[in-house]
Amino acid sequence: MAEASLGSLLPVLLLLTSLVPAAVIFVLPEPRERARRLVNMAGAILKVVLTGVLIAGVLGGGEYEWRRELLTGVDLVLRVDPIPLLFVTLSSILWLTTTVYAIGYLEPGQRRSRFFGFFSLCVTATIGIALAGNLVTFLIFYELLTVATYPLVVHQGDHRALVGGRAYLLYSVTGGAVLLVAVAWLHVLAGPVEFLEYAPLAGLAGEHATSLTLIFVLLVAGLAVKTAVVPLHGWLPKAMVAPAPVSALLHAVAVVKAGAYGIVRVVYDLYGLALAQQLRLLTPLLALAAVTIVYGSLRALAQDDLKRRLAYSTVSQLSYIVLGVGIASLTGVTGGLVHLIHQGIQKVTLFYCAGNLAKQLGVTRISEMRGVGRRMPLTMGAFTVAALGMIGIPPTAGFVTKWHLGLGGLEAGQGWVIWVLLLSSVLNAAYFLPVIARIWFLRVEGERPGAPTLERDLERDPWLVLPAVATGLSVLLAGLLAGAPLSPLSWAASIAQEVAGS
């Protein structure tokens, strides 16, 4: 009994490891930097430890659920299922690295109290989204995420930040409203439906096929705003005005990933792959993803601002996940799920590195990146690995994704998918390889041949360098050790077995 109650408390504890730090940080006065640092790090480390406990527990067959009645018939449910655990792991690990990074990145006088408070709140919302056991819980945390992220996007407080923040808020609120409509409609139609409980919806498929299809469209439309699916992606390139740690978290785990994760859950855990196929919902989803992948890459090609190029690259890469969702075969599902992780670690690395460049050298444009590899070898090494991952060059993580998506498409009889993937790879190569060549093979303008020793200072701050190196290394390891137990791939494959098998 005691064990059971602990089991039901674990999901809540996971939320509290960032919610409590958020509350403490808001109370702490601005100059208390050390205390804030301590609280932040303690929370982040504790969350990673708790996640480890959860993984061990789930592997041992444990079940973790926390449930309270919110309204009559509507429960607030937090539950640890395989897909949520995948997302929680990604979120808590990248929250830790990003916290370290943010501590190094933000300087005194940059309103760090407000920043870290909302930062923790943002992660709380993400964990809530991950663990949500039904749509209502999902929606609540989804809206919380919108609200918690806004102050981070406009953190700089200048005109561009406000414009970006406004676009973000507008899109997100609208998307949330659409989602609300869909959730309400579904409730009216089917009553409270929980994730992984396919029977109620499958039973309705005969009578209410049209309604179910419309609800699906609304759900996906609402989620697609955060996933930045074309044509609902406009806010993302504007929101990249946020400070680097925010962009990193935004593009890798928190906001855009919440949308993609929502689509994954709607298709796999709410409708189920069988029903989605029966209602023929997957092919339009595939087409949407394909268009987004190509459009994002094409736009990225023309950007000179590094962060803007990365933002369009996110638009493109996120739809790899959606593409995987639309491919109804074991390998395709694996590819989509594993990219949830792979895109996260790759993009977070790229944004850390972009942040380091901007902070240490004032370099924000690609045309200014000549020869920076020699000045910041560790950071640029991580950048190179992550960029190669984006292109899908083996043995990085991105290749594992690409291979599975392509093979999955062929298995599902959607062979055209590989041409989209390969076109996207070529475009990715076209906008990342010249950058890499510029980093390593061009000389710094006005470089003096005899003075490289002073430059060591550029990478002396471990708070800034370590996160980038660690995540960059993980991009390499996720690809190199893809066959190992507990690698993202083997994890995704075992989940795919359940999803595509049922």
Partner: protein, 577 residues
């Protein structure tokens, strides 16, 4: 133990890369030559220990080494060791060279040892991308242009290749090379997959039409890197074909004919283009293109008749061995000549060049004579009664001409033109390579590849004689004619086919020489067009930006909210209907 035995050849270069990066300088640079040694040991000793199963790594890499692989691995190791000795100077002088060098080496060895398509593809890609660092090393304008063309075609090739691999793997029971090749034979997409593999690997192998990067990139690199590019890495495309095409499973007459014709065309056109060149390294690069034509031809032969496939595959591997070592001898000699001070050094190098040139031309008892004899064995077995052998011999005439031209160009070079102040590298490693050239090809194949019957003395002495003599005669005649410019040119006996042939060759060469600049120009125009398109996209981008701006404005937002409200009302009304 077996993990150590199999993985050291791949991992030692990476370990050396770490060491040399942390402690650069003469004390560690000798490791460049030591890094490929385990590969040589493995090639010569063979798979003494069973290949380890590495299920946790990548996607279950499989390693294997068959006799054909051993021949190619021996070639690769020998070339890399000797080139490594000469890469030391370069490596000590500028950072960021050893890393690319060793990464390329690791990829090159890895692709020869891998037995599944993912490991193979990984190694192939690592090698290709890392070698970019070698190509652009000198940082000159030409090197950068060469690097750009190299990278564009490299990425294109790898993308095409990946498409082929995905299509093939979708039908295969597993990812082992043999399983995938077997699946290609029975696949519904067979012709598409074969085409994709031909193009993907053909770019690396320098098949005519896809070869444009090669004469730019190989000479742009420092000479030691040119030696490994042209001697070892260029063979990766051939390895891919031999392993992944459905060779030996079923006859593919159409594809076979295409490859035979393409191979012969590559052999001839490579020579013709090479003859128009003045820079020795460019001549050598064209010679590589031409020689790869013979290996392409052998792949075509292997596809013609399954029963002849083992012989053709073995012959292709032996040809690769012969060409790789000879070409490395040539590139290193050409690289050493400018700084060769003493008369005897210069003479030794020129004699070595002549010997390697004779070998490539297939002079009696040279490595080329053996390689060509085995090539003819395969052709006679698979395509009896055709004139392929004759055409191949005629192409050998071309090689003789090209090598004569190279020697003349080198003799005309003034000695001591190299950069002053550098220590002169010794000739010891190069001399070893010359010995390897003379011995490896005649001695190694009979031990490792019993399918190849030992050629009789006629095949290695008498038969190769006429193309060589013919080539030398033409070269002499041309030299003579050139010396007598101003005098009338009816020097050669009239009506002789040789004259027609020579005129034709010269004509073809002239036409091709006319075509070569437009081809290169077209390529750079194309690159510029791509840049232009990107810029145009950038301009249109402003339009898209405005569109996205519009979409993010308050008013648009208001409209969206209103729409949502409408949807809400409909949704609420829906269940009532």
């Amino acid at each position: 133990m077996s993990v150590v035995w199999w993985l050291t050849p791949i991992l030692l270069p990476l370990a050396v890369a770490v060491v040399t990066t942390l402690r650069p300088g003469p004390r560690t640079s000798w490791l460049l030559a030591a890094a490929p040694v385990p590969a040589l040991v493995l090639a010569l000793a063979g798979p003494l220990l069973p290949a380890p199963a590495l299920s946790w790594l990548l996607l279950e890499p499989r390693l294997a080494l068959d006799p054909v692989g051993r021949v190619l691995l021996a070639l690769t190791a020998v070339v890399w060791i000797v080139a490594g000795v000469y890469a030391r100077t370069e490596a000590e002088q500028r950072g960021g060279y050893v890393e690319w060098w060793l990464l390329s080496l690791s990829g090159n060895v890895g692709l020869l040892l891998s037995d599944d398509i993912l490991t193979f593809y990984t190694a192939f890609v690592v090698m290709t991308l890392a070698a970019y660092g070698l190509v652009v090393h000198s940082r000159t304008v030409e090197a950068r242009r060469a690097g750009r063309v190299y990278l564009v075609l490299g990425v294109a090739g790898e993308t095409v290749l990946l498409a082929g691999l995905l299509l093939a793997a979708a039908d295969a029971p597993g990812l082992r090379m043999a399983e995938v090749a077997g699946a290609v034979a029975g696949s519904a997409n067979r012709d598409l997959v074969v085409a994709l593999l031909l193009i993907g690997f053909g770019i690396k192998a320098g098949v005519i039409g896809l070869h444009v990067w090669l004469p730019l990139a190989h000479p742009a690199a420092p000479f030691a890197a040119s030696a490994v590019l042209s001697g070892a890495m260029i063979k990766a495309g051939l390895v891919g074909w031999l392993r992944l095409l459905p060779i030996g499973a079923l006859p593919l007459p159409g594809w076979s004919d295409l490859l035979v014709v393409l191979g012969l065309a590559t052999a001839v056109v490579g020579v013709a283009l090479g003859l128009t060149q003045r820079a020795p390294k460019v001549v050598l690069a064209y010679s590589s293109v031409s020689q790869m034509g013979f290996m392409t031809l052998l792949v075509g032969v292997a596809l013609a008749a399954p029963e002849a496939a083992p012989v053709a595959v073995a012959a292709a591997a032996v040809y690769a061995l012969h060409h790789g070592v000879a070409k490395a001898v040539l590139f290193v000699a050409v690289g050493l000549l400018p700084s060769a001070g003493g008369t005897w050094r210069r003479t030794a190098l020129l004699v070595g060049v002549a010997a390697a040139g004779l070998a490539l031309a297939g002079a009696p008892l040279s490595s080329g004579a053996y390689a060509k004899a085995w090539m003819k064995q395969a052709i006679d077995l698979a395509l009896p009664g055709t004139s392929v052998t004759t055409f191949a011999s005629l192409a050998a005439v071309g090689t003789t001409l090209l090598m004569a031209r190279l020697l003349l160009l080198l003799r005309a070079q003034r000695p001591g033109a190299g950069p002053a102040g550098r220590p002169t590298p010794g000739l010891g490693a190069w001399l070893t390579l010359v010995v390897a050239m003379a011995t490896l090809t005649p001695l190694l194949p009979p031990v490792l590849l019993p399918v190849l019957a030992t050629p009789d003395s006629g095949a290695v002495v008498a038969e190769p004689l006429w193309p060589l003599l013919l080539g030398l005669a033409i070269a002499g005649a041309v030299a003579l004619a050139q010396r007598r410019v101003g005098v009338t040119m009816p020097a050669l006996p009239a009506g002789d086919l040789v004259v027609v042939g020579e005129r034709a060759v010269a004509g073809v060469a002239r036409v091709l020489a006319l075509l070569a600049p437009p081809l290169t120009a077209a390529l750079s125009r194309w690159t510029r067009a791509v840049q232009g398109a990107a810029l145009a996209l950038g301009r249109r981008d402003e339009g898209l930006d405005r569109l996205e701006d519009l979409l993010t404005r308050w008013r648009t937002g208001g409209a969206m909210v209103a729409l949502v409200a409408v949807a809400l009302v409909i949704a609420l009304a829906m269940p009532l209907l």
